[in-house]
Symmetry: C2
Subunit: 769 residues, 2 copies
């Protein structure tokens, strides 16, 4: 008995799956290329971070302000992640970034090493010598998970970065210099503007320890961020310049605050720390963050990096990535692996852990809270990520999913509005985009077996979030059943997404036995029908008086009731009731024609110009993969009895829109949503309607895969007869049982075992029943 | 035996002292007139507070900014306490004030009730109807300890204020109105300027609870103040206006943030809460403060005012004052009692308790700390108050003195400079004035028997504060033994005060057995001699090269090395070695002539113009009582063998410079220092050199007094043959033992018992030996 068990264990762990033992110890981090998506629209950053780490330490290549003299510059959009691959200079290395967003913030605490004449302004890319920035070239650049390296050519400094969750670890190798500087520019920021820094403060405690903080008012309206910085080498001299023009100096004017004065404060503060260096001498900096206090930052620093061994921290960072990437092991070509693991890497960057090692964090009520029994996360780009990122994390990061939901519930508790997060980051709600999409994340997690939170509290929070009249025209929505165009230019998008969100509330309510709420929100989930215009066959924009907005142009994104999508795309946004949508559009054949047209039409330039955040390459016909509202669309053919068309389109998207090069992402990665689409679609299924407990079958692009599930279970995916041409699914089996209707149930997947795809080069047009 | 003891106790408590039992239960608060000193130079506020309470809720009569377009207005100086008696209008009622300062700040959280058209600007005194301010007249004004009342004529609203330590309790009696408002103007402040508010935030939780905070950068460079506000009547509507011109609004622009939106934030925020009122209807507001968090403010609120009984809180406030005022009970005319108890009231206003009910407070490191085993105090105007206020508190507030010193030591711990407070308030060091005068406060307390702090830690803090090269030219002082004029225009004042402070360090060191420190600082205490110019007979200003600054004018205050005093006055600032000073000036007779001249000369206008913070009435000859450096001077005659001249001058000062009228104070009360001088001088003695353990005998102006001492002891003062004419002391005895050299030892006083003065109408020129 005992012996038998041992063999069984061995079998499970090593030999029986589609992956050999060799694969299991393979270094997966070498497939990750953080440079992918750093050019143009991807908006990811190439710097160092650990999975879901608060510190994301990365080079910023420009500092275009959000607005100059009150006017939006537009160009700031290029710098959502601080970095653009085609830029010739690096301004410095800052500690906080978003991954793939289309609006931005952060860039906190820029460090830049220089030599020679001290300059405290960044200067311009055209004339780098006018400031502290430096030229660089990609030839000297290395980016791997948890590590970044570049040569700063103007100063002959080799810069290396690694991190822990809360600590940025810098290692700068200097030339010989009597005039070496580390600049800490507290005015630097992403989406900066004159006045963004409400206050900044720096204390020099001794010749190696510096602490401080700044409060900014940007996309996060009040962002408190504290730091503790330790140098490996004693500071020779230090100082600052405060470019404020405020008049009140008080009796601080008694001091020469610019030179070796250990208490520096102001709204436009740039500080510098000066050294003498030998040739090849390394100056290391440990730079810890906290949203609570400098004391919190110090705790984080000493807990995570109680040494000055840069290589050790770098290796630990890589090991953390290896551990997370192993959650899905695949067999595929090296090229595919690169795309796959870079995508998986991108799904593990946001949200971030937003609390100190002692559990303290800053809530959206600006108060200090302690996370009891969970890890507090922030950076929830929910309009994007409820679609695929969170459903993916539900499967492969069940513990973090519980933590994230508990973080959302804490946010709800702290919200004066009693709302779950919409788009929240760093102790703030920034109100970006639409919907109450924390709700489907929670419902999907609960329905799919995540149990680390209280579903009744979660249901109450969901209902409250769906019922607050001041938010997103919910007053009108609750009265009329739709958001009228005359009240909001995005009213139709809102209505469709609310209807879906409402359906997920009903699912959660049903699951916890609350029939009353289930019934109410099931009814609300039908609201999308109120905007289906039988005359045009599209979802339209309706006025408060019930009339349709006219004229109507289904190709326009702007000013037709939608956001980041036109009527052609958005009309398909009824993920929770595709059969009824098909009926409305006129049955399977007309619906198929609708989808075919969408994927093949040409979108004239005047309409393309309205499409946000994507390149032309992000389009297939009028289908826009670079924006989220259509991410489920290629899978809809399944419902019309044309699964092979789903397989074709999914294959096409993977092949053309996820490329292994800096400009390889066709649109913003959006905190991992684009990447999560790729992960799901590579594995052969996709959550068209999160919280349904179902996935639509697509076309896998791996030869095999093993997914770590909750409670130590594993799902092994085997793709028989796989090749680039054999993109058509002939048969799907879960644990030997054929899958019907191209629908994989989460309950089938959750127990682990084997998901078998049999592929072929011809469409399987016979229905598998 | 038992019986005898009872009689003895009875005797002590009731009959034997100079005060009858009737006196002991007398309502002393009725002698306090908070209006005294509210006109012109006194700079005290007339509003409501409890002893040493953080909330000091008082009407502000104007809002002159500190600077307009970068230029100092000057007129702001009139409004150090927010109130000027001669003003015709009240802008509103704010919760934080200083008492008697000559530079200012605070005025946090202005509340103003109005009716009719909503106006969110204060308007002007010339045209009150242009804003929310109201006309008022003193006829409707009542100010008693812990209570203030006034009629706001423009709105027919009776305003009443009372407080606890952390809570301002407002009671507004409205006329009938459909349009009643409570305005909370977060831009209001004392010593305001454009940009002072770094951030402000208001949350409306429900129809009676509002919380929020603001961070300001003024005299306190970063002042965090949180509030919780509860209304007795549900809010009908509310809203705000944010006059910021900053460009970045983010997605908050989606909301109508001006009307009934519960999360208001900005840098120029004015909020209003609207009601309908019946005729005579009262709206009550409880407004709690915290330097920690809104949660802290709520804790404070519910701990201190768990009800809506305004009269109860008002009565409790009065009782608190009665209890504190009873620390000194006197027999005197009602007029004298009014001056005396108003002065005593003024000595119990600053410092303030600066921590929440749970002990949390914000340190000068901007971090949250918990006061373990002490009450944390703030507002230390030490250049003023080390002279008499703290020595007075050492005698009559021994527990609070320990707390204050522990607060100073916590400040030292949190100081990146490792300095004790100089002039600190609300979690900030503002660096006003000169010296390290926390040191004599600590030494005086220790020498005089205060034991609630660690003297070794205190000595280390004192030595550190006296040795920090960046502060107050201590680098030069430690090198040269004086602060040269070419390094600081106040160098001579600094040198004199440092020398005295050094002497107190030596006293403390000696007392705790640290001979090395004692010797070192005893030597430093002689540094004043380096600036005594034998040629002029005055303390002069010396250059770095050792030459005297020339030309020299002993009447100039400005630009002669001094601050708030000229050479005539400052040359007498050697409180720790008067005999040596007398010797240097040329012996008793020449010294007496010096003093006589000082008190009788006429100070020409051009010199008077340089004298800060005083009226002409604040001068006797060239002696300036309105400024502190000479407060000990009238007592110096004692050392020259002319005690009757001390008695004359002290009597004259009390009679002419402490008057029972709004403009009755000849200079800034300076957080109680001026008043403490009066209390000491009324009781017949004064601490010329705190930390000496000695007091100089003056001329008492009470018939009798009982002072509560540490450990339940009492000192009874009996003034035989007292009258307005009998100002000359004939004999002084402590517990029957004659006092020699007109010097009362603290050790004699500390045990309690009786201090007997025998008075006469003629100077006693015979030395009492």
């Amino acid at each position: 008995m005992f012996r038998k068990l041992s063999i069984l264990l061995l079998c499970t762990a090593v030999a029986c799956g589609p992956l050999s033992s060799q694969n299991q110890t393979e270094d997966l981090t070498r497939y990750v290329n953080p440079m992918i998506g750093t050019q143009e629209m991807g908006h990811v950053f190439p710097g160092a971070t650990v999975p879901f780490g608060m510190v994301q330490l990365s080079p910023d290549t420009d500092t275009i302000p959000y607005a100059v003299e009150g006017k939006y510059t537009g160009t700031v959009y290029r710098y959502c992640a601080g970095y653009q691959y085609s830029d010739p200079t690096i301004v410095g290395f800052s500690h906080t970034h978003f991954s793939g967003t289309g609006h931005s913030d952060l860039g906190d605490f820029l460090i830049m090493p220089t030599t020679g004449k001290l300059q405290l302004n960044p200067g311009t890319a055209e004339k780098p010598e006018s400031g502290y920035r430096s030229r660089f070239s990609h030839g000297t650049e290395t980016a791997t998970p948890g590590y970044y390296r570049v040569a700063l050519e103007d100063y002959q400094i080799a810069a290396e970065l690694t991190t822990t969750e809360h600590v940025g670890f810098h290692q700068y190798t200097f030339p010989e210099s009597d005039d070496a500087h580390i600049i800490l520019d507290l005015t630097h920021g992403i989406y900066n503007y004159d006045g963004k820094v409400l206050w900044s403060q720096v204390w020099v405690h001794n010749d190696t320890l510096v602490t401080g903080y700044r409060i900014t008012s940007g996309w996060a309206r009040t962002n408190y961020l504290y730091f503790a910085m330790v140098f490996s080498k004693p500071i020779e001299n230090y100082g600052c310049r405060n470019d404020e023009t405020q008049v009140y100096r008080g009796f601080w004017r008694k001091f020469d605050q610019e030179n070796n004065f250990p208490e520096m404060g102001g709204r436009k503060l740039k500080t510098h720390f000066d050294f003498k260096t030998e040739a090849g001498e390394k100056i290391k900096i440990k730079f810890a963050l906290s949203a609570v206090s400098t004391e919190g930052a110090l705790k984080n620093l000493y807990a995570e990096v109680p040494h000055f061994d840069f290589e050790r921290t770098r290796d630990e960072a890589r090991e953390k990535w290896q551990k997370e990437l192993e959650r899905i092991r695949i067999q595929a070509t090296p090229e595919k692996k690169e795309t796959f693991y870079t995508s998986l890497y991108h799904t593990f960057i946001n949200p971030v852990q937003y609390m100190d090692v002692d559990g303290q964090y800053r809530g959206i009520d600006h108060q200090i809270h302690k996370a009891e029994g969970f890890v507090n996360y922030s950076v929830f780009s929910l309009w994007d990520t409820y679609r695929a990122l969170h459903p993916l994390l539900t499967i492969i990061q069940p513990e973090r999913t519980s933590d994230m939901i508990n973080s959302m519930l804490a946010h709800y508790d702290q919200s004066v509005h009693k709302l779950l997060p919409v788009w929240s980051h760093f102790g703030n709600e920034n109100w970006c985009m639409i919907g109450y999409h924390a709700v489907p994340v929670i419902a999907d997690a609960w329905i799919n077996g995540i149990r680390g939170f209280d579903p009744h509290r979660a249901l109450a929070a969901s209902v409250s979030s769906a019922s607050y009249p001041l938010y997103g025209n919910l007053d009108d929505y609750m009265k009329l059943g739709y958001v009228p165009f005359d009240k909001s230019a995005n009213g139709s998008s809102m209505t469709l997404e609310y209807a879906y969100d409402d359906w997920t509330i009903a699912q959660l309510a049903k699951s916890v036995g609350n029939g009353e709420v289930a019934e109410k929100f099931m009814k609300r989930s039908e609201n999308w029908k109120k905007l289906f215009n039988e005359q045009t066959g599209f979802i339209g924009a309706k006025m408060s008086d019930g009339s349709w907005k006219a004229p109507f142009d289904p190709l326009h994104t702007a000013n037709e009731g939608f956001i980041e999508g036109n009527a052609w795309n958005y009309s398909l946004y009824v993920p929770h009731d595709v059969p009824e949508l098909i009926r409305k559009i006129g049955g399977n054949e007309r619906f198929t024609r609708y989808l075919d047209t969408l994927f093949t039409m040409y979108l004239p330039d005047k309409y393309f110009a309205e499409t946000e955040d994507v390149t032309r390459e992000g389009l297939i016909g009028c289908y826009v993969h670079g924006n989220e509202p259509s991410h489920h669309v290629p899978y809809l053919y399944n419902w019309a009895g044309k699964p092979w068309k789903t397989q074709e389109r999914v294959h096409q998207i993977k092949r053309t829109m996820y490329l292994n090069k800096p400009d390889g992402l066709c649109g913003n990665d959006d905190c991992g949503q684009m990447s999560a689409w790729y992960i799901f679609s590579s594995l052969g299924f996709y959550p068209v309607a999160p919280a349904s407990g179902q996935y639509a079958i697509g076309s896998p692009s791996v030869e095999a895969a093993t997914i770590q599930l909750q409670d130590g279970k594993e799902l092994r995916i085997k793709v028989e007869n796989y090749s680039e041409k054999n993109i058509y699914v002939q048969r799907v089996e879960i644990n030997g049982k054929p899958i019907r209707d191209y629908t994989l149930l989460h309950s089938e997947l959750a127990g682990g075992g084997e998901l078998l795809f049999k592929m072929g080069s011809k469409p399987m047009k016979k229905t598998v029943k």
